[in-house]
């Protein structure tokens, strides 16, 4: 079934004074999907969301709502078919229930139904007991739940989320994220979700647009963006840390053999013999083991021995850079660092499956 676009951008550009900060040729939020927009800070994500939310007129191009271009006259009516949640909860100095009813009041929809709908959404976001509390007395996580209830109570045709979890501490975020995911899934709320956090995008989004420097560099199903990034820039942003060049030697039974710095790597991706290709490998797909161990009984087809060049603390775990003729990065838990006795200079064997490396665009 092809799903129809609810909100669409065409040839949209936004300029502030000098150059364009946003330049999007086409982007569609399809009925019922969660479209993630990821990119580093300052890549134009929030600007994109403000344009989609009809809060900012693009310098050029067109925003369409269900196929009809939005003009200044219809903007308020179209805006009332959407709702947006920002990084800060931005609650008004009222009670929780009054805050949640705010958007309904703007629509002149006050009445018996309001109280029932407000109660329903307070319940679903697990904040029903806070109903009569003043908004300014809430914790950050509670306040963001109120902000989400305030948007969802409007039954928006499109929900726009601008880094809604970024202002929260980790335990609060970990509690809220699955609750939001469950609501978006069960109600099939068409959502555009902007975040700089790759994990959040993987947890929530059906499709992901990678926005870097104001341009959409890749738009694809979430798994494909993370495992088959279309370019090196995207690959680096989605967490592919090992990127190397090699030459295709042969293609045999669905496995391509690529020569990288003298190693014959087996890759489960198509390649023409003789071609130069770029390979990307995610650090969590690489396993480290002592060089003395026998090959594991798994489909790990690539086994490279080298020495540990560097240990880089990060989250989660530690990045281990292994020099195997090229720097190969693996993620290892702090526990394993101790168990394996990993220190700089010791010899180590890195293994990864043929499905781990993927080809990044043309070399």
């Amino acid at each position: 079934m092809t799903r129809s676009p609810v909100l669409a951008l065409a040839q949209v550009g936004v300029s502030y004074g000098g150059g364009e900060v946003l330049s999007v040729e086409a982007l569609e939020a399809l009925e019922g999907e969660v479209l993630g927009v990821i990119g580093p800070n300052g890549s134009g994500k929030s600007t994109l969301l403000r344009v989609l939310g009809l809060l900012e007129r693009p310098t050029r191009g067109e925003v369409s709502f269900r196929g009809r271009p939005v003009d200044a006259r219809s903007a308020l009516a179209e805006r009332r078919r959407m709702a947006m949640v920002f990084q800060q909860p931005l609650l008004a100095d009222m009670t929780v229930a009054e805050n949640v009813a705010l958007g309904l009041a703007f629509r002149g929809a006050a009445g018996d139904g309001t109280e029932r709908r407000v109660a329903h959404w307070l319940e679903r976001l697990n904040i029903a007991p806070l109903r009569d509390q003043r908004a300014r007395t809430l914790s950050g996580g509670q306040a963001q739940r109120v902000a989400l209830a305030r948007a969802l109570v409007l039954a928006p045709e499109v929900l726009l989320l601008d880094e809604p979890f970024s202002g929260l501490d980790e335990p609060t975020r970990a509690a809220l994220l699955p609750d939001v995911a469950a609501i978006l899934r069960s109600d099939r709320v068409t959502t555009v979700f902007v975040t700089h956090d790759r994990g959040e995008a993987q947890a929530l989004a059906d499709r992901v647009a990678v926005l870097i420097g104001g341009r959409v560099l890749q738009l694809d199903e979430t798994a494909r963006v993370f495992h088959a990034p279309a370019s090196e820039e995207v690959a680096r942003f989605v967490g592919v840390e090992t990127i190397v060049t090699g030459r295709v030697l042969a293609r045999d039974h669905g496995v391509t053999v690529v020569d990288v710095a003298g190693h014959k790597l087996e890759v489960a991706a198509a390649g023409r013999p003789g071609d130069l290709v770029r390979l990307g490998i995610r650090p969590e797909d690489v396993t480290l083991m002592p060089p003395t161990d026998a090959a594991p009984l798994s489909s790990a087809r690539n086994r490279l021995t080298g020495t540990i060049a560097r240990l880089v603390p990060s989250t989660p775990g530690t990045r281990v850079v292994v020099d195997v003729g090229f720097p190969l990065v693996a993620t290892v838990t702090t526990r394993s660092i101790q168990d394996l006795g990993l220190v700089e200079g010791v010899p180590i064997t890195a293994v990864f499956k043929a499905s781990a490396p993927h080809l990044i665009g043309p070399a």
Binding site: L76, A83, M84, F86, Q88, L90, D93, G103
Partner: protein
């Protein structure tokens, strides 16, 4: 010192005895300054909100003018309004010079920049992101401004206090456009000047006490609203 104490004693007697002229003056002052404050709120709040939210060339010049207007000397306002209302002036046809209406106009001219300036500051301290959030929840521009003003209601009460306090105690404008006509345009302040000039200190002190009590009561009422809402 005896003069002052004796004055206060006689003043209290006058007030408590319900001297009709003194009470009439008090009532007129309250009516005139209260009306002027309402007019200044009706014009100053929209003007201040518009100035806070709009972006147009020359905006900073207008904001500076408003801020200067907050310190507008009442006599200057009085002079300006007198000329406007003078029989041959642009608004002379209204024939309201030397009536309470003229004092209301002059005092509104004095209070409006105060209310505008405080509204401007109050609205500007509400984060721009909050305004964007309201629009994103489907607010029209008017609804957005309404909620923002509601959000800024504590500093807005300061605008009411400053506006009323500014006009109830001014004298220059009341004297010039009202004329201090007995029983018609004699306010607390103009009467005080007159009685002091005549050496009737006990009357002047009585008026002064009433003025102080009035200003205190109004501010006390507004402050208690402000502080109750604060938590």
């Amino acid at each position: 010192m005896d003069l002052l104490l004796e004055g206060v004693r006689q003043a209290l007697t006058l007030v408590l005895a319900g001297d009709s002229e003194i009470w009439a003056i008090l009532l007129l002052s309250l009516q005139v300054s209260g009306s002027a404050t309402l007019v200044s709120l009706a014009t100053g709040i929209p003007a201040g909100a518009a100035l806070a939210l709009a972006r147009f060339p020359g905006r900073s010049l207008v904001v500076s003018a408003v801020n200067s207007g907050m310190g507008l000397p009442p006599v200057v306002a009085g002079l300006f309004v007198t000329i406007m209302l003078w029989r041959s002036g642009p608004l002379g046809g209204l024939e309201i010079l030397y009536t309470p209406a003229a004092i209301i106009v002059a005092q509104a001219v004095i209070a409006a920049p105060i209310v505008t300036g405080i509204t401007l500051a109050a609205v500007q301290q509400v984060p721009a992101e909050f305004r964007l959030q309201l629009l994103a929840l489907g607010a029209s521009r008017v609804q957005m401004v309404w909620v923002v003003l509601r959000e800024a209601r504590l500093p807005m009460l300061a605008a009411v206090m400053a506006g009323f306090g500014g006009v109830i105690s001014e004298i220059g404008a009341s004297m010039m456009v009202g004329g201090n006509v007995k029983g018609q345009t004699r306010t607390l302040t103009t009467a005080m000047v007159l009685e002091t000039g005549k050496g009737n200190f006990e009357v002047a002190i009585a008026l002064a006490l009433l003025l102080l009590v009035l200003v205190f009561l109004v501010n006390w009422a507004l402050t208690s609203i402000q502080q109750r809402r604060a938590f």
